[in-house]
Symmetry: C2
Subunit: 313 residues, 2 copies
């Protein structure tokens, strides 16, 4: 089961807001539907929203829309992951060279899986038999078309015959760790434990974590942007000498800017105030809800890409 | 409204598992009732469970129980906060000197409030007008008989006329920050914002936090034990040069042992798997749920006590 697929000139997106309780696909008939799925986190994860955006361009092409204008609308869906901008620009570039948006999107769909498998093989080189690996959020198959980046590295290590255990941070507020990463590891039969985000330091202090591997929404000069909480995990890893890897395809790299100039999305307070339908805090509670962290380069051991393991830029 | 009070030879405990939605008091008629309220977190916070335990001894005394035996049972309710052991031993000692358990419990009840007010005044000396203070979990009135330790410092600073804003970590899994600390600050009219635990690092990186003040369940050689998540907050504070204070009465000190020898309570996986009635993770998910962190001394700027601000031991 893929995160998204193209069929009968529509894009089908696995609705991640309902996982793991329900497995359903949302049918996008228009590029506006695609924007809706990105904004509401039905599809999330930097590589996946890149490919979804490319198919959004394909839907706009089929509808005879002005692709330059549509490109700007799609790019405005979420601000932090650079893959969204990269994908839309790549489709525009392909169009300018006479290719169809749909052909380019389909190519990117195939490339995503291949990229992750290559990245996974490189990453598996740093994973040792018997390792317990902590991950934060979901940089898995569900964050990509398939296979995953951080979880792709774990899959590749397991495919090589290594015994790996995984610890997933639950990843408040949206709980991609508890809902998605745990689910993916269970489906693979890889031993997995769930912890609250704030327990990661304790487990590292106790020597229970051998490596940390997370994804990224952007890699730029000075570090990487990734899900809120990644910074505190990286600080704990540094303190307790646990190698901290970022797994990200080159499409996540944005070498032209400083990581501190990346716009960090501030999301709806209700994500924090509610948990499913359960209200947590009193009425009238003010919330600050930044969706991403900036991880400075000195906390990153290496960046696992499809071109090998690179130093932070 | 106090966290607990003694009336008609029964102990009434404000049920914190239902806050902020419902304000109800649980009536303890026996010492076993008191143990139940401590185990289920109806009453929590090191100073509060100490005083509750003392009243548990008073209930046992009134029932003609063997107090030495009851002392052991009460001490087994929770393992990490030393105040529980301290309070029970103090009542036994008072008994051996001919005092009644009830008189000693009533004295400890009064002392708790006075201790916190003195501690608060010392702590207020390090708080500056305009400060934004981050706190984790609830070291407030609800963690004590009244007034609070970490939140007592904030109350004292506000009473001195300083303008203070507070940021509360939600404090998964039980959400004492979202449910209790936010509630207390709102009741006092002190500006307060709620964040997920993992966002504390980001706010410090952005320069939005001037000080961190948390409570403690035990202070011992080499550091302090406090709610899970405190370690990662302390690491972020160190990185971004934010002073990190522990506010704790001397009854929390256990100078005879190393902090690394303190038993860290492992609590029910369901605290992590559910949020109210909402299930978070898939069926069959394994959980590790340590309730406390150990904060090494080098991360602690000072320990605010009723005897002044002390260096970590």
């Amino acid at each position: 089961m893929k995160t998204l697929y193209w069929k009968d000139n529509h894009l089908f997106i696995r609705d991640q807001t309902k996982l793991p309780a329900e497995v359903t696909y949302f049918e996008c008939e228009t590029y506006q539907d695609v924007i809706h799925t990105i904004k509401t986190l039905m599809v999330r994860g930097a590589p996946a929203i890149g490919v979804a955006a490319a198919f959004g361009m394909a839907l706009a092409e089929l509808a005879g829309e002005d692709l330059e204008k549509v490109a700007e609308e799609i790019k405005a869906a979420r601000p932090t992951a650079v893959n969204l901008f990269w994908a839309v620009d790549r489709v525009l570039d392909a169009k300018s060279k006479g290719k169809s948006a749909l052909d380019e999107a389909l190519l990117m769909f195939d490339e995503d899986i291949q990229t992750n498998k290559t990245l996974g093989k490189y990453g598996a080189q740093v994973v040792e038999d018997g390792d317990t690996i902590l991950t934060h959020c979901n940089a898995g198959a569900l964050a990509c078309v398939d296979y995953g980046t951080a979880l792709g590295v774990i899959r590749a290590a397991v495919e090589e015959g290594k015994n790996i255990s995984v610890v997933c941070d639950e990843t408040r507020p949206v709980c991609q760790g508890a809902r998605l990463s745990v689910f993916e590891m269970q489906e693979e039969g890889i031993p997995v434990k769930l912890i609250v985000d704030s327990a990661a330091g304790r487990l590292m202090q106790e020597g229970k974590i051998d490596k940390v591997i997370v994804g990224a929404d952007r890699v730029a000069r000075g570090g990487a942007a990734n899900k809120i909480g990644s910074l505190m995990v990286a600080l704990a890893a540094k303190r307790f000498n646990v190698p901290f890897y970022v797994a990200a395809p080159k499409s996540t790299f944005d070498e032209g800017i400083s990581i501190y100039d990346v716009e960090i999305e501030e999301r709806d307070p209700d994500e924090v105030l509610y948990f499913g339908d359960c209200r947590v805090a009193p009425e009238g509670t003010e919330v600050e809800n930044p969706a991403f962290d900036i991880i400075p380069s000195d906390l990153i051991t290496g960046i696992i890409t499809e071109d090998g393991i690179l130093d932070p830029i």
